[in-house]
């Protein structure tokens, strides 16, 4: 059962990457300016050289040829060359990925722990003023554009990871609070409380087995949120990560680079969501 679930996720990831790649190839191919090569404007080139450059482009006019050619190169680790930076995309990603992964990892750890701590306290205390204050703070943070939080983090010298955590944590808190409140209102948990069972015992033995899989799903979704938040944070805080690279590629209309980053990000998001789903399934299986 678990093996089949993992296989299904694996197949879905491959399908999405292939389909996403095709979509990217179509978009790059039909984007304005695809047929134009700056090199053709070089006054040092003679007409024969310009013609050969044109011929090289003609082969890429066929969308399927263009797609399979890109796919073939990608299989060999060649993701093409950035038009704006003039460097291989693989090199750029290799340089920038560690910073982004480190930052997102730290941000997620911070956001999950703070959201869970806040949500648990709200569920334990069941105190209106605390709940209202937490809702007000998280609600205000949810009303702020991610880019404004990034700008404020620059203004107050706050690390980028903390800015991402502040963007992600309110979402996590809202979901976690609702899930825990629902779990704590289940009849068997109310009975356990009435019988005087300790809070920690109730949490680990009764609440988490019920709410755990859904909390894991929330954690999976927050990976996608954190990756999205990395763009404004890295771009505005001057951090040389993949988010900043995507932003620079967008401003320079460097479509091959942008498409590769997008596929990479999709892959990471899908892996995170699939991972959360598989672990959640395992937990449910253990409970059953």
């Amino acid at each position: 059962m678990l093996g089949r679930r993992i296989a299904r996720h694996g197949l879905m990831i491959i399908a999405v990457v292939l389909l996403g790649g095709l979509l990217s190839a179509v978009l790059v191919r039909f984007a304005p300016g695809f047929d134009v090569d700056e090199a053709q404007l070089d006054p040092h080139l003679n007409s024969q050289s310009i013609e050969s450059l044109r011929q090289a482009r003609v082969a890429e006019n066929n969308i399927l040829h263009f797609y399979f050619h890109s796919l073939q190169r990608a299989m060999h680790g060649d993701l093409g060359t950035s038009l704006s930076l003039g460097q291989p995309v693989t090199t750029l990603l290799r340089q920038r990925l560690p910073l982004t992964l480190r930052m997102i990892g730290f941000a997620l750890l911070l956001s999950w722990s703070s959201a869970l701590a806040l949500a648990l306290t709200a569920a334990w205390l069941r105190f209106f003023a605390y709940d209202a204050a937490a809702t007000l703070v998280t609600g205000t943070l949810l009303c702020l554009p991610a880019a404004v939080l990034a700008l404020l983090s620059v203004l107050w010298n706050v690390p980028g990871a903390l800015a991402i955590a502040l963007i992600v944590a309110p979402h996590d808190y809202r979901y976690a609070r609702n899930l825990l409140a629902k779990a704590y209102s289940l009849p068997h948990i109310i009975t356990a409380r009435a019988k005087g069972l300790g809070e920690l015992r109730i949490l680990f033995w009764h609440v988490l087995p019920v709410a755990g899989p859904q909390l894991l799903a929330v954690a999976g979704v927050s990976v996608s949120l954190a990756i999205g938040a990395a763009i404004p944070v890295e771009a505005l805080c001057g951090l040389a990560g993949v988010g900043q690279l995507a932003w620079q590629a967008a401003l320079a209309r460097d479509l091959p680079l942008l498409m590769n980053i997008t596929i990479l990000v999709t892959l990471v998001t899908l892996l995170a969501n699939s991972g959360a789903d598989v672990i959640g399934h395992m937990l449910r299986g253990q409970e059953a």
């Binding site: 505005l236 479509l255 980053i261």
Partner: protein, 269 residues
Amino acid sequence: MTIWRRVACAVLLLVVGVSLAANWVAPAGYAKEYRDAPDAAPSRAHWLGTDDIGRDRFARVLYGTRISLLLAPAAALLSTLMAALIGGLAGYLGGAWAKSAMAVTDLFLSLPWLFLLITVRALMPLNVSPLVSVLVTFLILGLLGWTSAARVLCSTAGSVRDSDFVRQARASGIRGMRLFWIHVLPNLKPVLYAQFWISIPAFILSEANLGILGLGVAEPMPSWGSLLRELEGMVSVGDEPWKFVPLVLLILVVTSFQLVLSKQEEVAA
């Protein structure tokens, strides 16, 4: 209607009303440059001061609010209609149609929203007139924002399709698109309404994000995103607090939109 909902409606009406009256309140317009007073502090002539090239900040906030508040609902309407057609039809037809539509939806949903936005925005020419940039920005939001709504609508349409009254209608000979338009779609109204209201603040925030990143509405046309770009050059919060007016307004409006959506409609969404 709760008290908070009434307050939210009043705030929204007030902000929309004032922004619609921008031509009378600030007749000089958003692009007029007062070259003798660049980066000025608030005064009687310029209530919120001027920006670094001498444009009246109050006028720009009014016109920017008008653009954001008129076009975000338009984009929300577009995305809700698309969700109704794609998600609603997929749920109604069921089977392979629903699976294919939801696979495409999942493909879009697996991309972080901001990544998808900047990727598609980058595919469009960036060097366009301000008016075109406004339309392109909100059109992209409308065209890409239907996915999560489509998912909700697909499952709702599926349950409506299996309901007794639809079975009865089918048994009495009503079939195909007629059944969809007359019996299924009207029953999706509460969900569509909720999705429309949810999308507006989401699109306002997305436009603000794009604007701050320089991928939104082009100068000199103001929008909340482009107005918030001014915060980039600030050294400390206390120095020029009036620069935060667009941000306060944005928070107020987004909060109001969220409060307008009642609990029941949120559940329906």
